[in-house]
Amino acid sequence: MGIQGMELFAIGVVIILFMAVLKQFGILEPMSSFEDNSDSDLELSTVRHQPEGLDQLQAQTKFTRKELQSLYRGFKNECPSGLVDEETFKTIYSQFFPQGDATTYAHFLFNAFDIDRNGSIRFEDFVIGLSVLLRGSVTEKLNWAFNLYDINKDGYITKEEMLAIMKSIYDMMGRYTYPCVRDEAPSEHVEKFFQKMDKNRDGVVTIEEFIETCQKDENIMNSMQLFENVI
């Protein structure tokens, strides 16, 4: 018995080695073909995106030609494929805030820039957003800010949305602050915000309430002008 077992075992080993040799010669195809199919899918997704022409962008935004050129050069350097996906965006934005966690706020920002909600920012979206922020009127800027806070884009800022935004801003501060960020700080801040903005006390802030309140507040109006000369 034992001997026959050994012989069977030997024969089994021989067959395995034979198959290995055959695979080398490519005669045994069926095994290897399964892996190849999945690779081809990946190729399609990394597509290059070309922006619209310089003239069209000039018409759509308030930047000069030179400014657009400079912006595009920086953009293309970081994202050679012409598209920024959310992960890259988060990485880039996080590098400006090394002490804290900027990913949540970056997520909200990404959604604010990604106008057509397709999951990636093209150069046009980028430039249009920047045009509003840097060269737009105060009303346009306030509109943009409202759009940022309104996470589900339904036209109303609820307390939950505001709380999420506030928490993400405080997250960017990180742990090492003076004085220490208490856990209640975001919600207190949200309360203050709603007291200021929510005129009719219905628990939500509409765009009209928002713009009206901001236009009356001197600090906010001044700070809107702050970043005029960034480019």
Binding site: F96, L130, A145
Partner: protein, 644 residues
């Protein structure tokens, strides 16, 4: 912050508008750019090759040369570009660093030139990207090893005042240093060979008388072999004791491998001497003789290759360990399989698994003695798989060991070649000639210059009367032969001479004066040391005729002696220089300091002593002509040797 991300800073700042409505406090004032320029192209001209890039690109790394205002030093107003007189090929990599944020190291570039360029442009080499970092580190290590080898060669120089013990140790370590050492080296080598051959021949059956069976030579000529053995062991013992005596650290010497081999080689003889009369341990005595073969390892002192082999094996310990481990695994597996495969067949030699080990080892190393062969089919199948896999398992770690050996061997070859006397001497000679060239030029021009000065001095009263042309002609004739650079250099050396109140002379003269003084010759110091020693003169040097306190520095001839060793010989000099009454310490700075204070003291003292190094009085330089005589009073250096 990464460089490329700097391009996104405007965006981040713009996005900060999102915080504004939420904020309760006023925002700080934004920094304004003073000269807000539009982004512009700048041209970098590197040895003729023009590179253009945006200014912003360079500003990404503000702590480098190109990113900071340091590049303004290189700005060329006429051509409106930045000119760098550096290697354009390496600059390409530097500029790409600004563009992509990653520094790459090309393989074909020499490591030291690359590092120099990086240092020039203010980029630290640690920033090299991961793709090229391994290569860079390897090359850097190789270069460092090579430089270390170079330095080690220089250290071989003989120190003059070594004790007898130190000389002996040096003789043992480097047989090339003296003839005695060489003789000793060859004698010991000879005796090792003799001893080994004796051991071998001892066991050969010599011709025998017909009635007896063959006896080995050792038994037949016992006395002769014993004498030979005794002689060899005596030599080895003496050698070991001498090494022990000469070793700088006896404890460390005794622990070293070579000394252990020495001990093991000679110990059996002594043990044998002690134990000859005891019958019981004669078996052990025979075993001891085996250890005599260790004498052959003593050859490793004589053979570089053997040492390299040993060093290689040591350095490849991990690969060897891996080889051993994998072999053991394979042996156990195959031995087990073969044992069970052959269990059924009758009269099988595979009686147990350990017995199968022998078969497996013989098969895997492709020896195949044939004393154990499988008979069943399964056994044969597994046996063939065993031999095929054996080849693989052994062949895999071997190239690693081989490449290690090759690298170490080549390094040693290089070191040996450089250490070879001829090459070193030729190289030194060439360097000396080139240095002498420049110093001779100085001497030559100095003579002419002094000639010129002398002319001026003598002609001074008559300068008005004499036609200026003749003197200017002289000047022209003399200055024609020297370029502006040379004349400035000569002027500098001249100033140094004036400062120290010594003159430069050439080698032969210096040696001459030395021999006249009848003292030992020292190697001189390097010029750098001497120039630092220059003291601005003591109180009575300049115009005094009799008293002079020259400094025991080698400002003069040191310039003439190229390729000096870096040792100073303060001790030696102090034996001569008795400027200071109290004994000096050996630090140079103290020499420099002290000269000033006791100088006044020495002015009164009537005796003067001088280090031999100081320079010649004018009369001795008469070969240059009478022109020197007028210059005599200015340079007053006394060469006298006396003892206090």
């Amino acid at each position: 912050m990464a460089a490329g991300v700097a391009a996104w800073l405007p965006f981040a700042r713009a996005a900060a508008i999102g915080w504004m409505p939420v904020a309760n406090l006023p925002m700080p004032v934004a920094p304004t750019e003073k000269n807000k320029r539009q982004d512009e192209l700048i041209i970098l001209n590197v040895s003729g090759r023009r590179f253009e890039t945006w200014r912003n690109t360079l500003d990404r790394f503000p702590d480098t040369l190109l990113g900071s205002s340091e590049k303004e030093f290189f700005y060329n107003e006429e051509t409106k570009e930045y000119f760098f007189d550096r290697d354009p090929d390496v600059f390409r990599n530097v500029l790409n660093f600004y563009r992509t944020g990653k520094l790459h190291y090309p393989r074909y570039e020499c490591i030291s030139s690359y590092e120099e360029e990086l240092a020039f442009f203010g980029i630290i080499s640690e920033i090299i990207g991961d793709c090229c970092y391994e290569e860079f580190k390897d090359r850097k290590r190789e270069n460092a090893e090579r430089l270390m080898d170079d330095q080690e060669d220089n250290k071989d120089a003989k120190l003059p005042n070594m004790t007898f013990r130190e000389t002996m140790w040096r003789a043992f370590e480097n047989p090339h240093t003296s003839t005695m050492a060489l003789v000793f080296y060859y004698v010991t080598g000879f005796f090792i060979a003799v001893s080994v051959i004796t051991n071998v021949v001892e066991t050969v059956p010599c011709g025998s008388s017909p009635n007896q069976k063959e006896v080995p030579c050792g038994v037949r000529y016992t006395v002769a072999f014993f004498c030979m053995d005794t002689a060899c062991v005596m030599i080895f013992t003496v050698e070991y004791l001498m090494r022990l005596f000469a070793a700088p650290s006896r404890y460390r010497f005794m622990r070293s491998v070579m000394s252990i081999i020495d001990v093991v080689a000679i110990l059996p003889y002594y043990i044998g001497l002690v134990m000859t009369d005891n019958e019981d341990v004669s078996g052990a005595f025979v075993t001891l003789r085996v250890f005599r073969v260790f004498r052959i390892f003593k050859f490793s002192r004589h053979s570089q290759g053997l040492r390299i082999l040993g060093y290689t094996l040591k350095s490849c310990a991990s690969e060897l360990g891996f080889l051993l481990f994998s072999l053991t695994m394979a042996i156990i597996i195959f031995a087990t399989v073969m044992f069970y495969a052959e269990k059924g067949s009758s009269s099988s030699k595979f009686t147990s698994i350990p017995a199968s080990f022998w078969y497996t080892i013989v098969t895997m190393t492709t020896l195949g003695y044939g004393d154990m062969v499988p008979k069943t089919i399964a056994g044969k199948i597994f046996g063939s798989i065993c031999s095929l896999s054996g080849v693989l398992v052994i062949a895999l770690p071997v190239p690693v060991i081989v490449s290690n050996f090759s690298r170490i061997y080549h390094q040693n070859q290089r070191a040996d070649k450089r250490r070879a006397q001829k090459v070193q001497k030729a190289r030194l000679a060439r360097i000396r000639i080139s240095k002498e060239g420049s110093s001779n030029a100085f001497l030559h021009s100095k003579r002419n210059g002094l000639f010129n000065e002398a002319l001026e001095f003598t002609q001074l009263p008559y300068k008005m009367n004499l036609s200026n042309q003749s003197s200017t002609e002289e000047e022209q004739r003399l200055t024609k032969s020297t370029s502006l650079l040379e004349s400035q250099h000569h002027h500098l050396l001249h100033c140094l001479e004036k400062t120290t109140n010594h003159e430069f002379v050439d080698e032969q003269y210096y040696q001459q004066s030395y021999l006249e003084a009848g003292l030992q010759n020292y190697p001189s110091r390097s010029p750098s040391l001497s120039s630092q020693d220059g003291v601005t003169g003591t109180c009575c040097t300049r115009r005094s005729k009799k008293h002079h306190t020259p400094l025991p520095n080698a400002s003069g001839p040191a310039h003439m002696q190229p390729l000096t060793h870096a040792h100073t010989h303060q001790q030696g000099l102090q034996e001569l220089s008795t400027i200071h009454i109290q004994p000096l310490t050996t630090s140079r700075s103290s020499l420099n300091m002290r000269v000033d204070e006791p100088a006044s003291m020495n002015c009164q003292s009537s005796q003067i002593t001088t280090a031999i190094i100081s320079i010649p009085t004018p009369p001795v330089t008469t070969p240059e002509g009478d022109a020197h005589l007028p210059a005599g009073p200015i340079h007053q250096n006394v060469v006298k040797v006396s003892a206090l």
